[in-house]
């Protein structure tokens, strides 16, 4: 794919390759739906339509729609538009990566501690705040959520070793 298009905003993957990627990914889900439906029976049984009847046709429609979308991408001339430049993608990654660590940390160390860490990382790393401000916000928000969920609305959130130490 043409990933070296030069524009004023810098370089990055082309919009065209992203279009192709998304269409192929959705088509892949369509194929999975068709295959999965055929395994459990997608036809007509004495009791009526089988479990795979509906998803089978849904999968077929997905594949056809994606084929049309792909054909449209290739029919149009490549205008060299970028999906996003690398700086922008780095910005996006700077949210996705810490959030990915965060969602896997929740079961281990609990919602409150991991939330405090996430907020602290964001503020310090992306916002360049002073440590005192970082500490204040990242502690106050989880404490507020604790009161809102556990105390007022009686909705328990996952807890880790720190909360156990404090006796919750």
């Amino acid at each position: 794919m043409s990933e070296t298009t030069h524009e004023s905003g810098g370089t990055g993957p082309s919009h065209r390759s992203a279009e192709v990627g998304v269409a192929l990914a959705i088509a892949a889900i369509g194929v999975i739906a068709v295959v999965g439906s055929m395994r459990i029976g997608s036809g007509w049984s004495p009791e009526g339509p089988q479990a795979g009847f509906f998803p089978f046709y849904i999968g077929l429609i997905i594949i056809v729609a994606c084929a049309v979308n792909l054909a449209k991408v290739f029919a149009a001339a490549d205008d060299g538009a970028l999906f996003a430049n690398w700086t922008q993608l780095r910005q996006v990654a700077s949210v996705v990566v810490p959030t990915a660590v965060y969602v896997f940390a929740i079961p281990q160390i609990g919602m409150y501690v991991s939330s405090a860490l996430l907020i602290a990382v964001f503020m310090r790393w992306l916002g360049h705040y002073r440590w005192s401000v970082v500490a204040a916000v990242s502690v106050v928000v989880p404490i507020f959520t604790f009161f809102m969920f556990e105390i007022w609305f009686l909705v328990p959130l996952p807890k880790g070793p720190v909360e156990r130490m404090l006796g919750f």
Binding site: T99, G127, V137
Partner: protein, 505 residues
């Protein structure tokens, strides 16, 4: 008719109980916050806060959640006018004239006009709901499975015909939603399907998780990519400006009425508030004497989209309460709420859950009045929140999305799914795949499939059942017209030559 008025009065008596009034104000304030903050919108705001209502009575719960919805509708206007950032897609059209007005120092006037016309639009739609919903519901009680499926069919086809995204992308996104919705236990045969042996897929994909991920996380990623920094105009709004603006509003009565009608019409069909606001703006621009001033700070350019967006947002609840078919993603989340509280959405609500339905309708009246007062008095506070830098707001929103996703089923795997949906939403949005039909398909997939299979069962597999009587054939034919509308209108333009008028966006 008179019985309905009595029911409505009873609804009001439920709503004005102090506990419910407090919930109403909390809902409005949370809703405006949700509407103002990037990454939080009506749909995922309601989805995140839905678990908080599990312990409440259904009536109190729906009052609070629907007020979040009203608040979000109001809140979108604040960011559009003061910051030129549409907080919600349906307030994009409001930025065209609202922001220029703020630049000229007329922010107060623009905000008052926006809030008041939102209120007028919503009120018009609520009155329409009060009068029409019971009739639709009693009519719909006679529907068999084929008719029910035809209504779903029409709803989904309207998405293809009316959305501004390419039709095949709409179809792909919608069918993806149906495919995700069919994962898990098959309702009819009790068989497992499309789980491929993964235990975590047994219960399927919950649409609340999808909503929080697609709309919430996806939106934050988009905002992050654009590297937004908020530099807003100051909001000076006081009683004098409000009264002055109110004095000039009555002369735009015809504009308001037209925008209300456009909004109601578009809101009932599930295309929703966003196209309604654009259409109303486009028509106002073409018809108004000062049409060429539009875009430079014309008050009519604020009234038209705001009235239509609010009328559409409100009337989106009409098909939800009378037919069980939500007209917008937020209405879909509310519908999901009904299921969780143990209510069966659909025409039976009007006979079996009178308190609930009329409480909801009464709360629409009260909620919009309370909402108008709250937003008019608290604009500076909400605007101040927007000045908090994104590097602080973003992680806090992420935390609330994660909590919302977790509390749906008390399951940490759902939080992982939320992030996956977020990344998927980012890519789909960037490549112009609409997310709303996908969410609606996840919600309604089971019901649409069930009615489809029941109809086919009755007809021994013949599709003729969908054209077996006048009613069902009419709805199905309308659906087909909506489905092929892009092709029909393209063909029509070609026939009439290149001079054909293009419909407004």
């Amino acid at each position: 008719m008179f019985e309905d008025i009595g029911n409505l009065m009873h609804g009001f008596s439920v709503v004005v109980q102090p506990y419910n009034l407090v919930l109403m104000v909390i809902g409005i304030v949370l809703g405006v916050l949700v509407g103002v903050l990037p990454g939080l919108g009506g749909a995922n705001g309601v989805a995140i806060l839905l678990p908080l209502t599990f312990s409440m009575s259904p009536t109190s719960a729906i009052i609070m959640l629907s007020c979040i919805y009203w608040g979000a509708l109001f809140g979108g206007a604040i960011t559009s006018i003061l910051f030129n950032i549409p907080g919600e897609p349906w307030s994009v059209a409001t930025t065209f004239d609202g922001y220029p007005m703020a630049q000229q120092g007329r922010a107060g006037e623009a905000l008052t006009a926006a809030f008041t016309s939102s209120f007028v639009g919503a009120l018009f739609a609520v009155i329409m709901i009060t009068l029409v919903a019971p009739l639709v519901a009693s009519f719909a009680l006679r529907f068999g499975p084929a008719e029910i499926f035809s209504v779903y069919f029409l709803a989904f086809c309207s998405f293809v015909g009316l959305s501004k995204e390419p039709p095949f992308k709409t179809i792909a996104a919608m069918m993806l939603g149906f495919a995700l919705g069919s994962v898990g236990l098959d309702q009819v045969t009790g068989q497992l399907r499309l789980t491929f042996g993964f235990e975590t897929l047994l219960s399927g994909f919950d649409f609340l998780i999808a909503v929080i991920g697609l709309f919430g996380i996806g939106e934050i990623l988009l905002t992050m990519e654009e590297g937004l920094s908020f530099r807003g105009k100051s909001a000076k709004i006081n009683l004098k400006i409000v009264v002055q603006t109110w004095k000039q509003l009555p002369k735009y009565w015809f504009l308001s009425l037209r925008s209300c009608l456009i909004g109601c019409w578009m809101g009932i069909s599930p295309a929703g508030a966003t196209p309604a606001s654009f259409m109303s703006y486009g028509i106002a621009k073409r018809i108004s004497k000062r049409g060429k001033n539009f875009g430079k700070g014309e008050i009519e350019g604020v009234i038209a989209p705001e009235t239509a967006a609010h009328a559409a947002g409100t009337s989106a609840l009409l098909p939800m309460i009378s037919l069980g078919v939500p007209g917008s993603p937020t209405a879909a989340v509310l519908l999901g709420g009904l299921l969780i509280w143990g209510l069966q959405p659909g025409p039976l609500l009007f006979t079996e859950q009178k308190d609930f339905v009329w409480g909801l309708i009464a709360s629409m009246y009260m909620g919009n009045i309370v909402g108008l007062i709250v937003v008019l008095t608290c604009v500076p506070v909400f605007a101040a929140i927007l000045r908090i830098p994104f590097s602080v707001i973003a992680p806090v929103i992420l935390v609330f999305c994660a909590i919302g996703a977790y509390t749906v089923h008390n399951n940490t795997f759902d939080v992982v799914m939320m992030l996956v949906f977020g990344v998927v939403g980012y890519f789909m949005k960037k490549t112009n795949y609409p997310l709303a039909p996908m969410v609606l398909a996840i919600v309604l997939g089971d019901k649409a499939e069930e009615s489809f299979r029941q109809s086919l069962l009755g007809s021994q597999g013949s599709l003729g059942i969908f054209w077996s009587n006048g009613l069902v054939s009419t709805i199905m034919t309308l659906g087909l017209i909506a489905l092929f509308w892009p092709a029909i209108s393209a063909g029509w333009t070609r026939v009439r030559g290149s001079a054909g008028l293009r419909p407004a966006e």
